[in-house]
């Protein structure tokens, strides 16, 4: 029996992963705060660890956690950072 699918059956092509850095030394890491409770505490600790390993950091905050990051936010992360860390959930 043939049925009409409720799904968008387009095949998605997975984005290739970026090359992993060998060391954090000298890298610039963007820390994305999604604006959810206590995400800043998590990122504070991550930042401390990154700085201790020779990375520099920059903090960027999404307007609201429940919506996708604005293109401007993504562009700023891409412009500023070699790497990005996102703090999710509570």
């Amino acid at each position: 029996m043939e049925y009409v699918s409720p799904f968008d059956e387009r095949r998605r092509v997975a984005e290739p992963l970026a090359e992993r850095p060998v060391s954090l030394e000298g890298t610039s890491v963007a820390l994305l705060d999604i604006n959810k409770r206590r995400g800043d505490e998590f990122l504070d600790r991550i930042e401390e660890l990154l700085l201790g390993r020779g990375a520099s950091t920059s903090r960027i905050t999404k307007e609201i956690f429940s919506k996708p990051a604005a293109p401007e936010i993504i562009r700023r992360i891409a412009d500023r950072g070699d790497l990005a860390v996102e703090g999710l959930a509570d």
């Binding site: 029996m1 043939e2 049925y3 009409v4 699918s5 409720p6 799904f7 968008d8 387009r10 959810k36 609201i64 956690f65 429940s66 919506k67 996708p68």
Partner: protein, 489 residues
């Protein structure tokens, strides 16, 4: 007594076909029958890979699919592919996947475990398997039991298209109507199925009229309901509704569809006794169709990308009419700027309804306060102000009382807003808001930011003084959205 395991020779990722005799020549082999779309199968592949036993995965899938799943799950044993019509599965009398069959060096089956059962596998294999939960999980139907091609080859014996919908995952857990081409065309009633309504998160799926029609068929809608479903889908696709956030949140929120205007009578939509359900086909299926668009087409399927902690029964679908004829007040769609003669759908992102009984109030402020205090308990008792909308379904008796006391809808809203406030000091425990944390003990905190955050709709039976309030969907920055029903039936 052990049985001789049925012989087979199947394509393998090792390059050449492998026979059962190749597999047990060096010692016992555990045949693990699995399938790609079965989550219990992938669980078994992941867990048994780490158990240190010799496992041969026999997939009821093509070899390339089998290899991909093996890679994805970290399965490092031999991988075999059994094509339709699944003769090997039938020879092994498989009903459910995964099924693990232990074959000894002599080619005898010495035991089997159906589904995921860590304790039974440990006992069968005499090695520790895992103590990581879940220790038990039921399996999925083996393809030889339902595969349509196979069953057609067997003269269609046992083919059940309703069961097939479950196997495809085209369901919310209840039986659905299979969306055949004929049914979908009837639903579209000549409208262009390729028309794009928008993209829906989290799948970022293209929501076409045809896919919405497929969901409407699945939900059990009659074709005359379809324009109401379309309006509801158009509403949730508005960016300010944030359906993507609602679809994946751990919150219980669902999408509540309220219908105003002449279409209610045209399609038999109930706004009277039992309006919130169950019992009326239009109510039940329109709400369900919207939810199927969100969960199937949009990808917000419970337990997958929908991470709702508890869910709520309203997420099966919740649609009702405002009883404009009984209401003493202006209908919702008129309050939102439409003409009374227009048929309009308004969608709210909201929690399950909380019933509020009041058979005793003798003056309007008392009743407004009872209803408002009930709303005060939604989301979390000390979360003031709410920061979202409280949607009230006001029953006809309550609405009539307000009317007889001379209160219109605006008055009810403004008085309720003013009546429900508490000293910050009484709210400063458990989950509370930054505003309460900052405020002095005696500062009065409102339950809402503004009276407009109180939405009132009249619905329910003539008898009984039971209204209801729907908790909000917070953190989503969601707004109620109204759309005119795009065509008449």
């Amino acid at each position: 007594m052990s049985l001789t395991a049925p012989e087979f020779s199947l394509p393998s990722t090792a390059g050449a076909p492998l026979a059962l005799t190749d597999l047990h020549a060096d010692g016992p082999a555990l045949l693990l029958f699995v399938a790609e779309e079965c989550p219990t199968s992938t669980l078994a592949l992941r867990r048994l890979s780490r158990a240190g036993v010799r496992v041969v995965a026999v997939f009821e899938d093509p070899l390339d699919v089998a290899a991909r799943v093996a890679r994805r799950t970290g399965f490092d044993g031999l991988v075999l592919s059994e094509p339709a019509p699944y003769d090997v599965s039938r020879a092994y009398s498989l009903i459910s996947l995964p099924t693990a069959v232990l074959v000894d060096r002599a080619g005898h089956e010495t035991g089997r475990v159906v589904g995921w059962d860590a304790e039974a596998l440990q006992s069968l294999l005499s090695v520790p398997v895992t103590d990581e939960p879940p220790l038990r999980k039921p399996g999925c139907a083996a393809k030889n039991t339902y595969d349509p091609e196979t069953l057609r080859a067997l003269d269609g014996a046992g083919f059940d298209e309703l069961e097939e919908m479950f196997e495809r995952g085209w369901t919310d857990g209840l039986p659905v109507i299979p969306p055949t081409g004929e049914r979908v065309q009837a639903m579209l009633a000549g409208h262009d199925g390729d028309e794009l309504l928008g993209e829906m998160a989290p799948a970022l799926a293209r929501v076409t009229l045809e896919r919405v029609a497929a969901c409407a068929v699945l939900a059990g809608c009659r074709p005359e309901y379809f324009p109401v479903v379309v309006a509801a889908v158009q509403a949730v696709l508005e960016p300010s509704f944030n359906v993507g956030g609602q679809a994946v949140t751990t919150q219980p929120c669902g999408q509540i569809v309220i219908v105003n205007g002449p279409v209610r009578d045209a399609i038999g939509l109930n706004g009277s006794s039992g309006a919130l359900g169950p019992g009326w086909r239009a109510n039940m299926t329109i709400g369900r169709a919207l939810r199927l668009v969100i969960s199937l087409t949009g990808g917000g399927f419970p337990g997958r990308l929908d991470r709702s902690t508890l869910g709520n029964p309203g997420k099966i679908g919740l649609c009702f009419a405002e009883d404009e004829e009984v209401s003493p007040w202006e209908p919702l769609h008129v309050s939102r700027g439409y003409d009374a003669s227009q048929s309009v759908v308004t969608v709210f992102g909201a929690d399950a309804p909380l019933s509020v009984s009041d058979h005793r109030s003798t003056e309007p402020l008392e009743l407004a306060q009872v209803l408002g205090e009930a709303a005060g308990a939604t989301w979390s008792p000390n979360w003031w102000p709410l920061g979202g909308t409280s949607l009230f379904a006001i029953c006809p008796e309550h609405a009539r009382s307000f009317h007889e006391w001379g209160w219109d809808k605006e008055r009810v809203r403004s008085e309720m807003f003013a009546a429900v406030r508490r000293p910050a000091g009484t709210l400063r425990w458990g989950e509370t808001t930054p505003l309460v944390q900052r405020a002095s003990d005696d500062s009065l905190v409102d339950k809402w930011d503004r009276p407009e955050d109180i939405a009132l709709v009249v619905a329910g039976g003539e008898a009984g003084r039971y209204s209801a309030v729907f908790g909000p969907c917070l953190g989503m920055d969601t707004q109620p959205i109204s759309k005119e029903v795009p065509w008449s039936t």
